[in-house]
């Protein structure tokens, strides 16, 4: 039955339109409810004492003075948590070390036990009547550390005799994965007409959502024995499960609630030690306990992103057709090898390493390395930016070697649309994609062919102009394709939809509401989207750009099922057969008559004044959004300063539910990608493991002067066939494309000035001094 709404509400507020976001009125008036905004009567405050050493034994912790201070309720340590039965947080993915032993990681205790392994690791927690008292008490705790040698950099960790982060990995190799066929690759390289090799460092980044992490845990009212944990998170269910498991509680005894989230970007997925400690402290105190991170704690202890060092080679024939791709990567996963941190570099990123190109042979050897630094996890793109950076840098280098236009070389290697569905050498199947078309559209939008005139104009102003290209795809989904949605049509005149994906700024509530309007044909202000309560529903949460295509599809299916159920009820109410009814403009009517019943009126007549549907559905696979991003820069040859003067992209995000929101994701994501290319970097001191980039005074985030305008277009003619909406996840696409496009542009500018070799050896971020040195050989 066709339940898509005809004209009327859907024509303006259904999918395909740039509907103003339903989230906005609250947020723009300061009525958002972020985790730190919520108060609880009798709440206590928790602060963490963190290790000043990168690697040390904890000899003793003396909290007597702290405990004696008025207003101090408790001081928790790793030992006291362990004595209370608190288990370590999960680490490690299902990988093996090079010697075949299981992947190695120290156990990750919520508060360190015996040994600290990165500067900023939590050692103790103080619970007190106010934050001020808690901080004063923290200062009164005396920890006796025995300082140990530490390694912060990959090559130091791998050097013979380096201190081992964990005995099970005496060589500091946590895990290793290989993919492809080394022999076949060696043969291809041997017979290749051209081989391009690059050393590529994808530097460590700090996610820096504007809202720091925050947790408020409290025993449930009414003495139920349950624990309610409110926090800023992308994955309420996952956090619920981990907290329950680690505290040895039945999962049903923990409820997680999430309100507004001020940015996630992947670093608010999964439970952190601080979440566990705060939850434990609330149970121990039989009172609400809250903790909010300082920005310095975000830098120290929120999972970092990226941090891989690769040697990458591309073998090509005389016509520039790629024969093989060989990559050797060391990934710095930090002191604790988290499941995500290992998987994104050893498996997930590699899924897209050959990208949109028809490269038959691969040989990847990828190793996760332990160091005395903060753990690395998912950060916007999570493995795919790293992989795409490698191949797009190789493509530009190959083009330069062969004397080909970088776009032309790429077009020669692109998988043509008639090869869809296409299985890549990692065994991943792309469902749809017309990469050459997207590339040509992007080049046209960027006026690729008009570059020389612009370069001359730049030169007249004393600037070196360069252009950089990224044509690429990415994988979305998180490998979780099923979603459960509940729909309640209330007799009071509204429709409440619950999903367990999680808003963090990406506008999914509006998109879901539009999808509901498509089906129900009600005004959009009658649709309420509810998220963030594990008592209402559980699921994977929001990560990997999955929300719209998995949960959005589930919202559509659930809405359709609801109309079906309502139709049966309407048939009974109107005493006819369901097939005599049509649904239009929020009412059921018997075709050819004026006998009708409105949707809400129908709901009001039901025993509990509602029509309720609990619907679970799944999509059939991931989506493969893709794009062509073109960046132009001007370089000041006297200082090495890079200005981004143009950024144009054409993107295949499949069908688009809200163009305004999709552009926002692409452009906002691109600025994060530009940040990696030009100014962001987490820096640890090599000797001491101290974090040198520990505040916003030293970690350079992009500001409003970075870029003046984007030209961003979407081609909606290639819908995904893996989900009923035809959409492709877009949240990370902009970030993935911007970094290589910008870096390629800067290298191009320097190459045109005769400095190609030095330029290709530059590593990100391309800060002015780096560019200046490459330009002048200083």
């Amino acid at each position: 039955m066709d339940t898509t709404a005809p004209a009327g509400e859907a024509a303006r507020y259904g999918s395909g339109h740039s509907v103003r976001r339903i989230e906005d009125p609250a947020l723009v008036t300061g009525a958002g409810r972020y985790a730190d905004d919520v108060r609880a009567d009798g709440q206590l405050h928790l602060v963490f004492l963190r290790s000043p050493h990168a690697h040390a034994h904890i000899v003793s912790i003396d909290a007597r003075d702290a405990l004696a201070m008025p207003g101090v309720v408790a001081v928790h340590t790793g030992a006291s948590l362990a004595a209370a039965g608190v288990k370590p947080l999960p680490v490690n993915a299902a990988f093996a070390r090079p010697d075949g032993s299981p992947a190695a990681s120290p156990p990750r205790h919520a508060l360190a036990i015996g040994t600290v392994r990165f500067v900023g690791e939590a050692v103790a927690a103080v619970v007190a009547a106010s934050r001020e008292v808690a901080r004063a008490a923290r200062d009164a705790i005396v920890v006796d550390y025995q300082d140990l040698p530490a390694v912060a950099a990959i090559d130091d960790a791998l050097a013979p005799g380096a201190p081992a982060v964990w005995p099970a990995a005496p060589d500091n190799l946590a895990a290793r994965a290989t993919h492809g066929d080394a022999r076949a690759a060696a043969d291809a390289f041997a017979r290749a007409a051209h081989v391009v090799a690059l050393r590529l460092v994808n530097q460590r980044l700090a996610s820096n959502p504007m809202e720091p992490r925050a947790v408020l845990a409290q025993p449930e009212a009414g003495g139920t024995g349950r624990l309610v944990v409110r926090l800023s998170s992308q994955m309420p269910s996952g956090v619920r499960d981990t907290i329950a498991d680690v505290l040895d509680l039945p999962r049903a005894q923990v409820r997680v609630r999430v309100g507004d989230v001020g940015g996630g970007f992947g670093t608010k997925t999964g439970a952190y030690p601080e979440d566990v400690v705060t939850a434990f402290a609330a149970r121990a105190a039989h009172a609400p306990v809250r903790w909010t991170a300082e920005r310095s704690e975000e830098f120290l202890a929120t999972h970092h992103g990226r941090d891989i060092d690769s040697t990458a080679e591309l073998a090509l024939d005389a016509d520039g057709r790629a024969l093989a791709l060989r990559i050797r990567t060391h990934a710095n996963v930090g002191a604790y090898a988290t499941r995500t941190g290992v998987a994104i570099q050893l498996r997930i990123g590699p899924w897209v390493s050959t990208s949109i190109y028809d490269i038959p042979t691969i040989d990847f050897d990828l190793r996760a390395v332990l160091t005395h630094t903060a753990p690395v996890g998912a950060y916007r793109g999570a493995g795919r930016p790293e992989a795409i950076y490698v191949i797009e840098r190789l493509m530009d280098a190959a083009a330069r070697r062969l004397g080909l236009d970088p776009a032309e070389l790429r077009l020669r290697n692109m998988i043509p649309p008639e090869r869809m569905p296409y299985r890549n050498p990692m065994g991943q199947v792309y469902d749809t994609g017309d990469f050459p078309s997207i590339a040509r559209q992007g080049l046209a939008l960027a006026d690729w062919d008009g570059f020389d005139a612009r370069a001359a104009d730049s030169a007249a102003r004393g600037r070196l102009r360069g252009r950089g290209l990224a044509t690429f795809l990415e994988w979305t989904g998180g490998s979780a394709f099923e979603e459960r949605v509940t729909v309640q049509v209330h007799g009071d005149g509204f429709i409440e939809v619950y999903t367990s994906t999680q808003a963090m700024g990406q506008g999914i509530a509006t998109a879901y509401a539009q999808l509901a309007v498509d089906v129900f044909g009600v005004p959009i202000d009658r649709v309420r989207i509810v998220q963030g309560d594990t008592d209402r529903g559980q699921g994977f949460g929001s990560a990997g750009s999955r929300s719209l295509f998995t949960a959005g599809s589930a919202v559509q299916v659930a809405s359709q099922r609801t109309v079906e159920r309502a139709k049966d009820l309407a048939a009974r109410a109107l005493e006819c057969a369901p097939q005599d009814l049509e649904y239009r403009d929020a009412a059921f009517s018997i075709v050819g008559t004026d006998r009708r019943v409105g949707l809400f009126e129908l709901a009001a007549r039901q025993p509990d004044r509602q029509v309720f549907v609990d619907s679970t559905s799944a999509v059939s696979g991931p989506t493969w959004p893709n794009g062509c991003h073109v960046c132009e820069v001007e370089v000041d040859p006297d200082t090495g300063v890079v200005d981004v003067v143009s950024y144009a992209s054409v993107n295949d995000a499949g069908r688009v539910v809200n163009p305004m929101i999709v552009r926002g994701q692409l452009d906002g994501g691109a600025v994060q990608g530009l940040g990696q290319a030009l100014c962001e970097r987490v820096v640890y001191d090599r000797e001491s493991g101290q974090l040198l980039s520990g505040t916003l005074s030293d970690y350079a985030l992009p500001r409003a002067d970075l870029i003046a305008a984007f030209r961003t277009e979407m081609d909606t003619s290639v819908p995904s066939i893996n989900n009923p909406l035809g959409v492709k996840g877009v949240g990370e696409l902009g970030t993935i494309g911007a970094t290589p496009a910008a870096v390629n542009a800067v290298i191009d500018a320097l190459a045109r000035a005769g400095r190609a070799q030095a330029a290709e050896a530059m590593q990100m971020p391309l800060v002015p001094e780096t560019v200046w040195r490459a330009l002048h050989g200083a």
Partner: protein, 159 residues
């Protein structure tokens, strides 16, 4: 404890504060106005921006006692006619100048301070006025567009 009196969102407020209490903590915790946000600890992110005596001020870098005798406006005091959004707020909604919303109150207040002084700012002036406000979600271009739209709504189109 020291007594302070100031005007907050158009209404008189009295409070007794310790000298070391920050203005942002007075607003968020004592007065329960949680629209002003704390995003950093080094006075750089601008999420705590309010308007004080017509100028933008970082509430995290002010003592509450320094607000004595001042006129303070927070995001909660920004409203349009008859319960509608203020034109600045409507502009942010129309131009998709917010995503997660955490930096948004600070952006709106910085915009209000700018447009009160400079009703028809150039794009360069807008960017300069926002250099103390960080956003991680939008990439800023839509925020600049929002400010441009707000200026037009309030003062008419640029010549």
């Amino acid at each position: 404890m020291l007594p302070i009196r100031f005007t907050l969102n158009g209404a008189p407020v009295s409070a007794e504060v310790e000298p070391h209490r920050l203005l942002v903590d007075l607003l968020r915790e004592d007065l329960r106005l949680t629209g002003t946000h704390v995003g950093c600890d080094t006075s750089q992110c601008g999420c705590c921006t309010v308007v004080l005596d017509g100028q933008p001020a970082k509430a995290c870098t002010m003592l509450a006692v320094q607000a004595d005798g001042a006129e303070v406006t927070t995001i909660e005091g920004v409203r349009g006619e008859g319960g509608a959004l203020h034109p600045i707020q409507q502009a942010f909604v129309d131009c998709h100048g917010l995503q997660c919303g955490f930096c948004t109150p600070g952006m709106v207040m910085a915009t209000a301070a700018l447009l009160a002084r400079t009703p028809r700012p150039t794009d360069e002036e807008i960017v300069h006025a926002l250099e103390g406000n960080l956003c991680r979600c939008t990439g800023y271009v839509s925020i600049v567009a929002s400010v441009r739209r707000a200026a037009e709504a309030l003062a008419g189109p640029r010549g």
